[in-house]
């Protein structure tokens, strides 16, 4: 039988460098707080989703009625939240996501889930950081087998999940090449300003692509430099079957070559070959 997969949105951090609660931040003009976006994403993939908070902390904006799990006394930092979740449901695998990952996509997390499902007895499923190759513990799955490992480390005063995963030689997944910055986090107001200003574009969808995407326009945060990079990034997120050789690109209602750079605020459309007349 499948291990039940529960989601845990970690919002118990103090956000001291940011100066305000990160889970309540709205990144980009999509209008969702980090909590609303992250919890929504977890709900799509998990049987039940919970909000991890410190003792006495109020829920962040956009968290709605998500049930709350308080930190465990056994540890500090995010590990306290994760052990709190195991205290609640020890038999579940916990898909843990931090509140400061505005670029994480559904497909990235779905791949993590698929990897865990392929080896359900593994204690952990995690990505390797594209920066230093170290484990990314705050967008990861902690299987039921991980609880005793985490407790053993916590008892010795080791509370850093990244170090624990490293010591346990957890096999790591690679981030897709088109999305290597997917797990970049936001720590300071400067990070936030860059994330919002530098990476927000408007996508317009037409014809069968609008149907496949399920919408006609959206505002997205992206990392791409050129139109072709953007196409690969969007294809990596949504698997629409966009073929760079067959698709024409328009930016701000003009056809452009694929190596044209995309700027923040641009309206970008990927167009299948025309079929008028």
């Amino acid at each position: 039988m499948n291990v039940p997969l529960h989601g845990l949105f970690l919002a118990g951090g103090k956000s001291s460098r940011m100066g305000r609660e990160k889970a309540s931040l709205v990144v980009g003009n999509v209008g969702l707080t980090q909590a609303a976006r992250g919890i929504g994403l977890l709900r799509k993939l998990c049987d039940h989703t919970y909000l991890s908070l410190r003792e006495g902390q109020a829920a962040p904006e956009g968290a709605g009625q998500t049930p709350v799990i308080r930190d465990s006394e056994e540890a500090q930092g995010p590990l306290a939240g994760i052990l709190g979740a195991f205290r609640e449901t020890p038999a579940a695998a916990w898909l843990v996501m931090a509140c400061d990952l505005p670029f994480v996509s559904e497909i990235l997390v779905a791949n993590l889930v698929a990897s865990f499902r392929a080896t359900p007895n593994a204690p952990f499923a995690a990505y390797a950081s594209s920066r230093d190759g170290l484990p990314e513990p705050l967008c990861a799955i902690y299987g039921p087998a991980s609880r005793s490992i985490l407790q053993r480390h916590a008892a010795r005063g080791h509370f850093c999940p990244r170090h624990i995963m490293r010591e346990e030689n957890v096999p790591l997944l690679s981030l897709p090449v088109e999305d290597t910055r997917a797990l970049e986090n936001l720590n300071t107001p400067e990070d936030l300003a860059e994330a919002v200003a530098a990476r927000e574009i408007h996508l317009a969808w037409f014809g069968s692509l609008a149907e496949r995407r399920g919408l006609r326009q959206e505002t997205v945060l992206v990392k791409a430099g050129t139109a072709e990079d953007l196409l690969r990034e969007i294809e990596g997120r949504h698997r629409l079957g966009l073929d760079p050789k067959a698709v024409r690109v328009a930016i701000n209602d003009e056809f452009v070559p694929r190596d044209c750079r995309v700027q923040a605020g641009d309206k970008v459309a990927f167009l299948l070959p025309s079929a008028g007349g």
């Binding site: 317009a204 037409f206 149907e211 209602d253 459309a269 070959p273 079929a275």
Partner: protein, 150 residues
């Protein structure tokens, strides 16, 4: 040199009037109408969708360039929305001092519009199913054989 993308039903009368001129001895127009069959299947309806801002710009560019190339005057209008067999989907007109230029401009313009203006169509068949019709990515409609199907 007008190019329009308008909701069905389209009326080419004003475009026709725009092209009429006493120095033009030849006036050719082409009407693309919805056909009741496609690749062996009975078509009961067509839905046209456009990227209107870009289609307008691209269409105006094509009309202007192709008219100039042939020493003609030209205009075109394409319908969007839900059409049924027999409805007018696209109208292209070209007027020139002599018929050769008018024929050539009209022919080149309809081919270019089909290949390059961002408009897509979804066909509905007699069995109730519907599908988007795939365009060709080569962008070179004239090579698609004589009197490419409309």
């Amino acid at each position: 040199m007008t190019f329009l993308v308008e909701p069905h039903p389209i009326d080419p009368t004003p475009l026709r009037a725009e092209l009429e001129s006493r120095d033009c001895g030849g006036f050719v127009f082409f009407e693309g109408r919805v056909r009741d069959h496609h690749e062996g299947r009975t078509v009961t309806g067509l839905h046209y969708e456009a990227y209107r801002e870009l289609a307008g710009k691209e269409g105006r560019r094509l009309v202007t360039e192709i008219a100039a190339k042939h020493g003609a005057r030209a205009a075109a209008i394409h319908a969007i929305g839900d059409l049924v067999p027999g409805d007018l989907a696209v109208w292209v007109g070209a007027a020139a001092p002599h018929r050769e230029q008018a024929f050539a401009a009209c022919r080149e313009l309809i081919d270019a519009i089909k290949a390059q203006v961002p408009i897509w169509k979804r066909e509905t068949y007699a069995n109730g199913k519907s599908e988007w019709v795939e365009g060709c990515s080569c962008g070179a409609a004239p090579s698609h054989g004589p009197l490419a199907k409309s």
